[in-house]
């Protein structure tokens, strides 16, 4: 028997069998989430009852090795309401403990869920993380309905955030992905996703689960796989996100290496897709976005000192990565005072593209190269905060939009240099 045939594993306590016509699979990714999982399962059951009362559904618990009885709680709470299947991760789950999501073994859990989707051929496949305290019954509808009724293939969540939340997304991940693949889809920050069964099954055919790509962000490459594969993508606004594990607790350079590295790695795989994309278009949004209250003034001193230290100590490495022109302009930033510090968008775009090219060339050890981007990112973030601190959320949005357009305008430089290096 193959792994695909047996992936659904043992039934829950009540032993209810998934039917051949299961249309919705709700995947719960867990690792020691006993504190939160009961309310999550209740919300999921309530959401299914409210929004899809007559649709056959299955709850799949992809557990990465919980020691606190999480799977038992799921079985108990869902007993008699929805069939439950438990898919434990293999022993190698802990090979890479430090993840940008703060959740080891997550990629394997998602793969197991995709295997279940391959076996049961559902229309909708939801991915929900077990540490989300704020998950409500409404999330099920917001994530599943666009797929079930509108024919979307990949639903990326948007959360209620204040204007400076997700600075890496706003300054790098989103503009770069948008410029590359031509869709204005926010880089996902995890938590919950909606996938069509077709897309979930297609993900299994990708080589990205193993090898060098395995160390990158699974959220990032799922997104690029959807964009490069021409799948229908959309946003769903889910409200506030509150979770047990704080993403900010993982080292910034690791987050950068895993997320940016994931995009750079995908650029090699989907070269033909992004090279021919010239403009970007909006994607559908389900729900009405809201912003959180302003966090108040942010301190940029430490970010600027981090940038200047990088300029002092990492210059020999940057000389290998950045073009002469880019480096020359970055060197002039050292002269600025903290209050007037500016890292211009044009220069930032050029810097990111030079890093992408250096990654392609393997000029340096790739992980070292990606981590050496951290001080530059801190400089750009400080500049971004200083540029927009006197305005409101709308001004931040305008600044992000302007940066995205700059990424799109400068893309011919990236394409030209990339092709030149390939010749």
């Amino acid at each position: 028997m193959t792994n695909e045939q047996t992936v659904l594993g043992s039934p829950g306590i009540e032993g209810e069998q998934p039917t051949d016509t299961t249309e919705i699979i709700v995947g719960l990714l867990t690792l020691n989430n006993a504190a939160t999982i009961e309310s999550i399962v209740k919300s999921v059951l309530e959401g299914l009852q409210q929004s899809f009362p007559d649709i056959p559904a299955l709850l799949v618990n992809c557990d990465a090795g919980s020691q606190d009885g999480t799977p038992g709680i799921i079985d108990r709470v869902a007993a008699g309401m929805v069939p439950v299947r438990m898919i434990p991760n293999a022993a190698s789950t802990y090979a890479n403990l430090t993840r940008e999501s703060g959740f080891p073994g997550r990629a394997e859990s998602i793969r197991n869920l995709c295997l279940a989707a391959q076996q049961l051929q559902p229309k909708v496949c939801l991915i929900l993380e077990g540490q989300l305290r704020s998950l409500s019954s409404g999330w099920i509808d917001q994530l599943a309905r666009p797929v079930y009724e509108a024919g979307e293939d990949y639903v990326v969540p948007l959360y209620r955030r204040h204007r400076y939340e997700g600075t890496l997304v706003n300054n790098l991940l989103y503009p770069l992905t948008r410029a590359l693949y031509g869709k204005r889809l926010r880089y996902p920050s995890g938590g919950a996703y909606g996938l069509s069964g077709k897309f979930a099954r297609d993900l299994l055919t990708r080589s990205t689960w193993t090898g060098a790509a395995g160390k990158f962000s699974v959220d990032g490459w799922m997104t690029t796989a959807a964009l490069a594969g021409g799948y229908r993508v959309c946003h769903a606004f889910l409200g506030t996100r509150d979770q047990d594990t704080k993403i900010g607790s993982v080292d910034l350079s690791i987050v950068l290496a895993q997320t940016v590295g994931g995009i750079f790695h995908s650029m090699e795989e989907y070269e033909s897709a992004w090279e021919r994309t010239k403009e970007s278009s909006e994607v559908p949004l389900y729900g009405i976005p809201q912003t959180a209250p302003d966090p108040g003034p942010l301190q940029t001193g430490r970010m600027i000192s981090g940038f200047k230290q990088g300029l002092r100590d990492l210059l020999p490495l940057w000389e290998l990565i950045l073009s002469r022109d880019t480096l020359g302009q970055i060197l002039t930033l050292d002269m600025q005072d903290a209050e007037d510090f500016r890292f211009p968008p044009e220069l930032w775009v050029q810097t990111v593209y030079d890093f992408a090219l250096a990654y392609h060339d393997q000029t340096l050890h790739r992980e070292h190269m990606l981590k050496s981007l951290t001080p530059l990112y801190l400089g750009r973030t400080a500049s971004f905060v200083l540029e927009t601190q006197d305005g409101d959320g709308a001004q931040v949005d305008r600044a992000v939009e302007a940066l995205c357009r700059q990424f799109e305008r400068s893309k011919p430089y990236l394409v030209e240099q990339w092709r030149w290096r390939d010749e």
Binding site: L252, G306, Q309, L320, T363, L364, S372
Partner: protein, 233 residues
């Protein structure tokens, strides 16, 4: 009397001529070996250089971080050029030794066999040196980036300590492999390494105990983790 004088002169002359006649072919052999050595060495150098450049060896070394320390040490040429030059001299020296051996001089008897017998040690030492330099460079670079990202002011000092610590260890291994003053090398390494560790222990224990206490409390203590002011993702 005159016969004895004549015989002595003739014998001396004949012996000298005989010796010259015997030495001449050996000298000729020496010069032949030298000429062949130059030609063979030049051929090996040119071939190596072309092959290395064809396969992008310089770029490969740059990626591995070999070119950078060479450049810092004042070697401004590409690594392919350095390697081909080294091979040139190795081939030339081998031919020179053959020539010297052909001279059949008592002082250089068994020279070749001794050199050939020592070659495995030299090769092993070269490999240790190469790997050691690569490791030193790689880990120093990793330490530098980590320290800069953690905003440690003395990032370059940290990276330098990692680099020179690993290089010291490598040099000690190379000398031991070559069998040069084995006991002295081991003793010197142990004293230096032990001294550094003791100095660090004293520095931390006496000079920076409060700092270390705070750092350890931050790392292992049970306290509320203060997240970054910004959420990056």
């Amino acid at each position: 009397m005159s016969d004895l004088w004549r015989d002595t002169v003739v014998a001396g002359f004949r012996d000298t001529v005989m010796q010259i006649v015997l030495v001449l072919p050996r000298l000729l052999a020496l010069f032949t070996f030298l000429a062949l050595g130059i030609m063979a060495a030049w051929f090996v150098r040119t071939l190596t250089l072309r092959l290395l450049r064809t396969f992008g060896f310089d770029l490969f070394c740059e990626r591995l971080g070999v070119a950078q320390p060479l450049s810092q040490a004042g070697v401004r040429q590409p690594v392919s050029s350095v390697v081909s030059r080294i091979l040139f001299w190795i081939v030339f020296l081998l031919f020179t030794f053959m020539g010297v051996d052909a001279m059949n001089l008592p002082a250089t008897a068994n020279l070749i066999s001794q050199i050939v017998g020592f070659l495995p040690n030299v090769l092993a030492a070269s490999l240790v040196l190469f790997v050691g330099m690569l490791c030193a460079n790689f880990f120093a670079e990793a330490a530098l980036i980590a320290a800069v990202n953690a905003q440690v002011e003395e990032a370059r000092v940290v990276a330098g300590l990692v680099r020179w610590g690993l290089l010291l260890f490598t040099f000690a291994m190379v000398l031991t492999q070559l069998g040069i003053a084995k006991e002295i090398v081991i003793a010197a390494f142990s004293i230096t390494f032990g001294g550094v560790v003791l100095a660090l222990a004293l520095a931390v224990g006496l000079g920076a105990r409060h700092l270390m206490r705070k750092a350890l409390e931050r790392r292992f203590g049970h306290h509320e983790h203060k997240p970054d002011e910004l959420s990056h993702l």
